[in-house]
Symmetry: D3
Subunit: 174 residues, 6 copies
């Protein structure tokens, strides 16, 4: 059986990792969908899809599980989003999500969704880790080791601190 | 004479219906443009274009008026929006709107616009009806009967309640 | 029961009209999808979506059938095309098409498709009518009367003759 | 040496003009990139790219400097933004910006950026000038003379006052 | 009076230059629109918008004429193309073109177009110059001097020869 | 060292597989970019990105090599294509390609490219395998075993035979 688990993974952290460990008990193969793959260099989405692919691929080697790590560009039309995901990913039997919109969209398409309160905790953790990076507080103990390596290699904390000064409404203009 | 009336129609309600009735006194034919046709499954825009086409087409049969119900995908460039509307719709002689941006864009293109304070009331009503649906309060007395039928057929209240739990900033991701 | 019938309708002609008449025997309501709705002013697609909506809406009044005429912008991704159509149109039970790609896409989505050799004849007719317009040969006897009216009102033959001189590869440039 | 200076220029004002004067001491040629070129008719971005090109081209004739005024449509993907700018503009040696995101993106691409506190003042000035226009207060003394001419020619203050009434969330719909 | 002249300018050559000279007799200011601004690195469109802006800006200094050189990204919807051009360019009174589609689109929008057989010759010349570059035959005598400088500075002939080996259908893939 | 190898992989075949084997001698890790990831259900591109990810991931397990399989949606702007690839993929040191356009684009961006005549053979093989599928001739001996499994699981030959009847110019319309 193949499962599907989606996140923005900004960055991939211990909460995601525990979740994958749990899903690994239920499926043989897992598709990890990277949401908002086309976003990067913002406070909310600091890392590129390529950087997130590297983090996740290295980290999930811990599990005895065939994985597929798939960047998913935003399509901004809820009504075709499930088809978009299905065409970009290997076929899956069950989706794991606690996001009400995702749950609704999959269910309207007849796809089984399994929910868990763990997901909510995950989301909060991502946001807190980014805040800690901006404030130069400790964050390395909250992500798997390969994620630390990737972020240091790309000088990721510096990037996040830099762009967090931006006024997002003005983006590229003085 | 052919008129043009635009709304998001989320859903089409008695306020819109009264407005169409009034416009029917002034024109022979009416184009009803469905704005944000590509949005759906959100608190602000729960229904798809197809669902809204069905609601409106059934409801406007009440009037002795040739109507054209046209979904309009968002184009996100104000300067070409009038051309977009004109190319998607049968040619019209006058537009009905109270939205300052729409009024301005049509007027800069030399198209006559008729305004009415009724439009503002309409907008508020759509928002209130959606809130009533989320809160499981009465809403059926505020929309034409065919709209009740459509929303029940597609299980629309359930959908709206479901997606209204979503954190729109995080959309598809845990 | 509601059916779905798609065409580019450049222009809507007697072949399409006969086909709608035949479908009318099998369904209560019919969605007419206008493909390539965003194309116009070319030899292959001379008329805008709005002009085609007007032609079709007037012509299908001949039938005792509730119809929905829906412009469909091209989405250029086969894998999400069915979802795009479904979100823009009132829900339908059966699709009518002889186009192998459309048949395949609907069937992979579990939607019933009914085919008929009539469709191929239709396609050829559209192309021949456009050639006759360019060559100033008779074409009025091949389309329903309201289509003649619309094309004359918009000065459509002149437009087609004009743009048929264009070198499509160079489009807007000298 | 050729420099690059980006702004939204809504409108081009004395702060921008002083900045160009300063840059003129350091470079022989200057590319002026007009950000959000596809936005117009909003409170934040009232003027079209064409109108801004006209304002700037006329105003920078004051300087002994070869200038290129280039509209830049938004691309909404930070990771390819620098390539987008480079392909649309004559090649440049140094960029002038104080926007943290722009600084970061150029630096990650190995392009030299020169910063100055003047840029922040500029940004505030644009916003204040638009507010003064909306409130019918004096603004002509804060922009170069050709900018006054352009804005009056297009009836720009009226447009800004008009669209500033819009509820941006509802855009085109009643 | 302000005129508008559009071309792809791949590259800007003596035919274009003669045409600008002729237009200069009729107008005070001229907008030069660079079509297909987003195309580059192909046999048909080897040069980027930025490179073409540089060629043209330098070359038209020969004339006593205020010029605006404006890159125009393709919009792929004929029905909104005129609005797109108008929003990106300073307002103009008359357009110069011999392209039947452009003539038609401007005329349907009520804009005066002036045609000249010279335009056809121009188009052929661009194609021949590119073929000469690919074949390492002489081309420098067919373009203004600043165009030679730009093409040599960017190593443009080499690029064109390189990409002309590509199988355009396969683009980026082996 | 990390390499990058791009193909459309329609389907992934023995020629690609031999190439990956050869690259495996030169690098420790390999990014396999799937070009035209958004195309599917055509004669030229029958398989979805998800299906191709599955084929490749299973097949490359033969090699002692860390691999990243990355779908790349077409961006249709050569000048930003390299940035697009870089943002979607883990950072790489060298690209393998024989496609003149790809070679040129990478080289203009300062990225090392290694070429090999093997690539041309590969391209022809993909096309021949698709023709054999359409003609119901033997093809299983030209692809790795996991590719046979995937294509059979999704009923891929049937799909290809079906869509190869389509008139691509008419796509979705009768």
């Amino acid at each position: 059986m193949r499962g599907f688990y989606i996140g923005r993974f900004q960055p991939y952290h211990d909460g995601h990792h525990a979740m994958v460990g749990r899903i690994a008990d239920e499926v043989d193969e897992l598709v990890l969908g990277i949401g908002s793959a086309d976003d990067s260099h913002t406070t909310h989405d600091p890392f590129t899809a390529g950087e997130r692919i590297m983090m996740i691929t290295k980290a999930v080697k811990d599990f005895d599980l065939t994985t597929y790590v798939v960047p998913l560009e935003d399509i901004n039309r809820n009504a075709v989003w499930v088809s978009h995901v299905e065409s970009m990913c290997p076929d899956f039997d069950v989706a794991y999500s606690n996001n009400p919109l995702v749950v609704r969209l999959f269910e309207e398409s007849g796809i089984e969704v399994r929910q868990s309160p763990m997901f909510d905790r995950d989301r909060l953790e991502g946001s807190e880790i980014r805040e800690r990076m901006v404030a130069d507080e400790s964050w390395r103990d909250r992500v798997p080791d390969p994620v630390v390596d990737t972020i240091e290699e790309i000088n990721g904390v510096k990037r996040l601190q830099h762009v967090s000064d931006s006024d997002s409404l003005e983006r590229y203009t003085a």
